[in-house]
């Protein structure tokens, strides 16, 4: 993706402007163009993007941003705030009816993932102690009923079917009696995929709705959907007054701008995200995370906020200077580590960095805060001279430091080696393309 990291892009834009003193309206516009491109790249609908950018522009062209020392971060903050507002704040639950059975009806385009999502929901509710019934209402696509039956078998959840010669409305009605006689308190109606402009098929959904009055109608939308998402959502919502959306195939690399478009157009919340082909792969939807994903910037904002709160600006500037001159010592290392640790537990911080949060193989990465304790202990056991110039630390000194810090000589060796490598890396970065003024944490950047 071209704009995999909007935050960086914005920073770049503003870095270029930095020498100019105060920013003017044109500068802000240039920055907002980056935001616009990022949103369009993410498949947010053109009209939605336009409205959104206008709104941000109104806010960003104010004095506050233009006089700020960190306009880039300021704009990101505004973008994020507006994004949150659009996406909605908290996660939304499925309404459980006080009079069983609760009826959930699935709807959506062909191939969006209704049947799989129906199975996933059934599994989730069964885990929550409900007794779900799956209903095979897709009488059109070859073997759609079979597909649901197989899922039911795997989940050990009953599936109600009347074959593919029956009317979906009759099937929906019939499922209520079946649920009652089989002690099921929750019904999930699968329906055939259909185009939002197929009048006959849309009317059929209206009839099913009228016949069984579902508690929840969920529109299933593929996260890869492009500009057409607004047409789809608008039509389904107008015909059925949906309660929410399930966004599927979120395990892919689509940025999922459709989520924003749908929310903007219908006002209906995204309730779940499908994150894989397995029946366990259903997650609650987090609007805030989605906002960052659409913008392609991880949870940079919270990271910036945390950093702002816990990092002493002057110290940071001094540190940067040292880094540039390659005068960075173990003392600085420890101080910096302290500051970073003030921001929160390491694995939480790592999760906020774009790329890392989404990378599956890193998901289970455990950053051990204990290890950081070790490092601190080792450095504390050194003399000031040793900290400034680790080269002097010979064999006997290593032994002493290990003893003093309650670690092993191997631990001390490892730290010294890492430090040496880091310095080498810093040197390369300095001679090369290390960015000035950007928000960068050595070791973690």
């Amino acid at each position: 993706m071209i704009f995999s990291n909007l935050a960086e892009k914005l920073q770049d834009t503003f870095d270029k402007l930095r020498g100019k003193g105060k920013l003017n309206e044109k500068d802000v516009k240039a920055a907002l163009k980056e935001v616009k491109m990022a949103l369009l790249e993410a498949d947010v609908n053109y009209k939605v993007v336009k409205k959104f950018i206008n709104k941000i522009e109104e806010r960003a062209v104010g004095k506050e941003v233009m006089e700020s020392l960190t306009p880039g971060q300021h704009v990101i903050k505004i973008v994020n705030e507006e994004m949150q507002e659009l996406m909605g704040g908290s996660k939304e639950e499925i309404a459980i009816s006080s009079e069983p059975p609760t009826i959930i009806m699935m709807a959506g385009l062909q191939g969006s993932g209704k049947t799989t999502s129906a199975g996933k929901l059934a599994r989730k509710f069964a885990k929550d102690g409900k007794k779900p019934l799956l209903v095979a209402g897709d009488v059109y696509r070859p073997a759609a009923i079979r597909q649901l039956q197989v899922l039911g078998e795997r989940l050990e959840i009953p599936v109600f079917s009347m074959g593919d010669d029956s009317d979906p409305v009759d099937i929906a009605r019939g499922s209520i009696n079946y649920a009652a006689s089989h002690n099921c308190d929750l019904i999930i109606l699968d329906t055939a995929g259909r185009l939002h402009i197929d009048q006959e098929m849309m009317a059929e959904l209206e009839e099913v709705k009228a016949a069984v009055e579902p508690d929840e109608i969920l529109l299933v939308v593929d996260a890869m959907t492009g500009q057409d998402a607004v047409n789809v959502a608008k039509n389904f919502d107008q015909r059925l007054d949906i309660n929410g959306v399930i966004l599927t195939k979120m395990d892919g690399d689509a940025r999922g701008g459709a989520a924003l478009s749908i929310k903007a157009i219908t006002g209906k919340p995204i309730k779940f995200a499908g994150t894989g082909e397995k029946l366990a792969d259903l997650e609650e939807f987090h609007p805030d995370r989605m906002a960052s994903r659409i913008l392609g910037m991880g949870d940079v904002l919270s990271l910036i906020e945390k950093a702002e709160k816990s990092i002493d600006k002057e110290k940071a500037a001094a540190l940067e200077e040292k880094l540039r001159k390659n005068e960075f010592t173990l003392e600085d290392f420890m101080e910096q580590m302290d500051q970073v640790r003030n921001m929160g537990p390491m694995d939480e911080l790592l999760g906020m960095i774009p790329g890392i949060g989404e990378a599956k193989q890193l998901k289970n990465l455990q950053v051990d805060d204990k290890q950081l304790d070790h490092i601190e202990a080792i450095i504390s056991s050194m003399t000031p001279g040793e900290r400034r110039d680790p080269e002097v630390i010979n064999g006997s000194r290593r032994k002493r430091i290990a003893l003093g810090s309650g670690t092993s000589i191997q631990d001390v060796n490892r730290l010294l080696k890492q430090f040496k490598q880091t310095k080498k890396m810093m040197k390369q970065l300095n001679s090369g393309k290390m960015k000035k003024g950007g928000f960068k944490l050595p070791f973690f950047g």
Binding site: G111, A143, D228, N231, G252
Partner: protein, 307 residues
């Protein structure tokens, strides 16, 4: 109005001039100005043509205005039209099927329309008197084998299948052997839908392809890989095309679900950036809802109004 309708009207309209949405941008104004380009941007993006391609197109036009001294919006429209047509040129719809046995392996993400497209292709060539065979290579998704078998029954076409959960490469191997033994003209192999980002599943796909290639080489059969893209898909189609192409060398694209309101403009980027030709379009769920891709018709429909 659906795309199908628009396609039908497409040719008629070509004679009347360039498509309405675009001609609205260019005609009815006297100057070439920023507004014009912004409107054009809107039309292109909303057709899912894609950010990169859209801005490349617009930049090219802006250059043309400078270098060619264009002052009339209508004149600029001709440039635009030519530009688009160049992007989609050298397209030949359909398949040649000039070998004794021709094999088409069909790949794509989940729910794109692979199985249905297979049925449509099978129906088309059976009607042309070819001997067609299908292979149920999606051994993973619940009900996928039955889905293909039902289509086979409907069309009167043989389906080679094994148990659910069996090795897809083994199914492909079997299928090539029996196609050869039974003098089949066209063998179409279904595969399980998979996201292009799932590396292990992409590896499995490579393995299936290797087996097909190996068996085909022995009997000089032709092998083509058809990537199925859903017209509803936005920018992600580019990533899909790129990664499927890297894994199994895609020969052509089928664009499905053009009977909705989605325009499928992303195939312009797929063609332009990756050089993959678009061969077929799907315009419905029935076996006959398959057409050869025609660049002119497609551009027509891409920018026609919805109402």
């Amino acid at each position: 109005m659906g795309f199908l309708q628009r396609l039908k009207e497409g040719l008629r309209k070509t004679k009347q001039g360039f498509v309405d949405k675009v001609s609205n941008v260019f005609s009815g104004r006297t100057n070439i100005d920023d507004d014009l380009f912004e409107e054009l941007e809107e039309v292109l993006i909303q057709a899912d043509v894609g950010v990169k391609t859209t801005f490349a197109l617009i930049e090219k036009l802006q250059e043309d205005v400078e270098t060619e001294n264009i002052t009339e919006p209508e004149e600029l429209m001709n440039y635009f039209q030519k530009e688009l047509q160049t992007m989609l040129q050298n397209q030949e719809g359909g398949f040649k099927l000039d070998k004794k046995l021709n094999i088409i392996m069909v790949v794509g993400v989940n729910g794109a329309g692979k199985t249905t497209t297979i049925a449509k292709i099978a129906g088309r060539y059976k009607n042309q008197g070819k001997k067609v065979m299908l292979a149920a290579g999606d051994t993973f998704r619940a009900g996928a084998i039955e889905q293909l078998q039902i289509w086979g029954d409907r069309l009167g076409v043989n389906v080679i299948a094994q148990q659910e959960g069996s090795d897809a490469a083994a199914v492909a191997y079997d299928a090539v052997q029996s196609a050869r033994a039974r003098d089949v003209d066209l063998l179409i192999i279904d595969t399980a839908g998979r996201l292009h980002t799932q590396t292990n599943l992409m590896e499995e796909l490579k393995k299936v392809k290797r087996v097909i290639d190996r068996e085909a080489a022995e009997i000089a059969a032709g092998v083509e890989v058809l990537l199925v893209l859903d017209a509803t898909t936005g920018q992600n189609a580019i990533a899909q095309a790129k990664l499927f192409n890297q894994a199994v060398n895609v020969d052509g694209v089928a664009l499905t679900k053009l009977d909705g309101t989605a325009k499928g403009g992303i195939v312009i980027a797929v063609k332009n950036e990756l050089g993959l030709p678009i061969k077929l379009i799907g315009v419905g769920e029935a076996a006959e809802d398959l057409q050869n891709f025609d660049p002119e018709e497609f551009i027509e429909a891409l920018f026609s109004s919805d109402q």
